[in-house]
Subunit: 157 residues, 4 copies
Amino acid sequence: MKDIVIERLDERGVTIESMAELVFELQKQYLDITMEEAVENVEAVLMKREVQNAILTGIEIDLLAEKGLIREPILKIIQNDESLYGIDEILALSITNVYGSIGFTNFGYLDKIKPGVIGKLDKIGKTTGKVHTFLDDLISGIVAAACGRVAHSHGDD
Amino acid sequence: MKDIVIERLDERGVTIESMAELVFELQKQYLDITMEEAVENVEAVLMKREVQNAILTGIEIDLLAEKGLIREPILKIIQNDESLYGIDEILALSITNVYGSIGFTNFGYLDKIKPGVIGKLDKIGKTTGKVHTFLDDLISGIVAAACGRVAHSHGDD
Amino acid sequence: MKDIVIERLDERGVTIESMAELVFELQKQYLDITMEEAVENVEAVLMKREVQNAILTGIEIDLLAEKGLIREPILKIIQNDESLYGIDEILALSITNVYGSIGFTNFGYLDKIKPGVIGKLDKIGKTTGKVHTFLDDLISGIVAAACGRVAHSHGDD
Amino acid sequence: MKDIVIERLDERGVTIESMAELVFELQKQYLDITMEEAVENVEAVLMKREVQNAILTGIEIDLLAEKGLIREPILKIIQNDESLYGIDEILALSITNVYGSIGFTNFGYLDKIKPGVIGKLDKIGKTTGKVHTFLDDLISGIVAAACGRVAHSHGDD
């Protein structure tokens, strides 16, 4: 299933490298980490079934909202990424959670600052017909989980 | 938005009374509770925006899976309510959570035992073309949250 | 750290076998599982750092409450395992979460039914000077997580 | 119980105003908010029993760790606020959760940036005998929950 997940992310404009760059940027200040290690950790997160289910479900919701196949009033709420709609955060946190609560801080930080690909997705979602309501949060969740995994692996040294 | 939520639940075969009966059954052994109070507490849960978003989103996913408008591999996973797919539980727990962690125990119990309307929905979902993968968990979440609200209100006496 | 965790659980009257029995009982109806496999899965859960932190922290709180070293009003609340105190559930759910949301249902069921060692701990906590407010929930969390791990491993076959 | 909570926070160097300032700073860019409204929202968060339990429990753990009354290996882990120890985040998130998942982003941001009183507590915890491992996260959780409450109240206008 991992290949489909990577393919779907790619369709939506997200590469493993673009996520690994954020892992690298967040961790380099604390740990001696390489981009190669960052890529490995993002890929390990994408191997988890719980993560795959969250990504595939969230991307479908974004896509169905783009096509207008979701009924009101939830359709506009999702299309407009309304701040009081928290289901996207909930799905993303189920990803972050996979490596424990230490990922929550990075999730929130990424979701607030929106660096790199996260900000790019958010901007496209807000300025075009594309809907990235779930996707930008999912990416924050994947990157935060990968950071948690990196921290665990170094902590276990 | 509450009226739309009640209408959508009704469309899918769930009445406020059917949820209130489960709240009454779960709480009567601990507290002096009436059906009227159970109904009030279910309605109070349905007033919460977080709850409304989870219900409306989950029902749409069930419906879109019924219509085959979600792509594989997630389509079959949702249609078959596969045990390793946990996104339905995640949405339901965001409802339960609204009155704190004390609701989690009732959520799990309801999801396991599937009494009343929950079992009815589960059976229909497993034996007909209808998809209730999210709905039965959402109902467990609503009932568990209402039980938590009842416990808080009596505890605050 | 795993040895200390097992030792502390043993001090408090909980063996790996007593937890594995509950995993076996819960899973045998769905899967072809042996007691040996149940033991392996409980041990795998106890290897996780997040789990170890939750167990060691929860046991310390129970112990400090037994000794009266926690201040009021939280002291009596913990000593009496008051139903509106949900911090014990929160710690337990962080354990269950380690193998994803599919564990939540079993957690709630175990916490409600209190089979085997869970009921034994609960009874001792309610009838003696011993405090098991956190421990019984932690055990439900460990067993539920082990069930989730079993389900994942069979699902991946 | 609210008075005891405020008193205990005060003992540990945290005033309602110091938390309200952070709510004001985070929300003023999005909403027309006054310091008075920020104070009201922090106080409303502190009225919730779930929040009170998390605060009183977390402060006790910090205090008992200061006094060396918690056993190793968890004692040093808590005293040193080790990054792989996530129980403090878990307690804090149970506070943030009280107004739904929309608070998670602010929680993570606050926990990363550590503005105002949060940074002050963190620094004291890292440079003196005082232990603020739980407290600084609890404050991030309270402020994030208050921001969520503000957003809901304005959203409901």
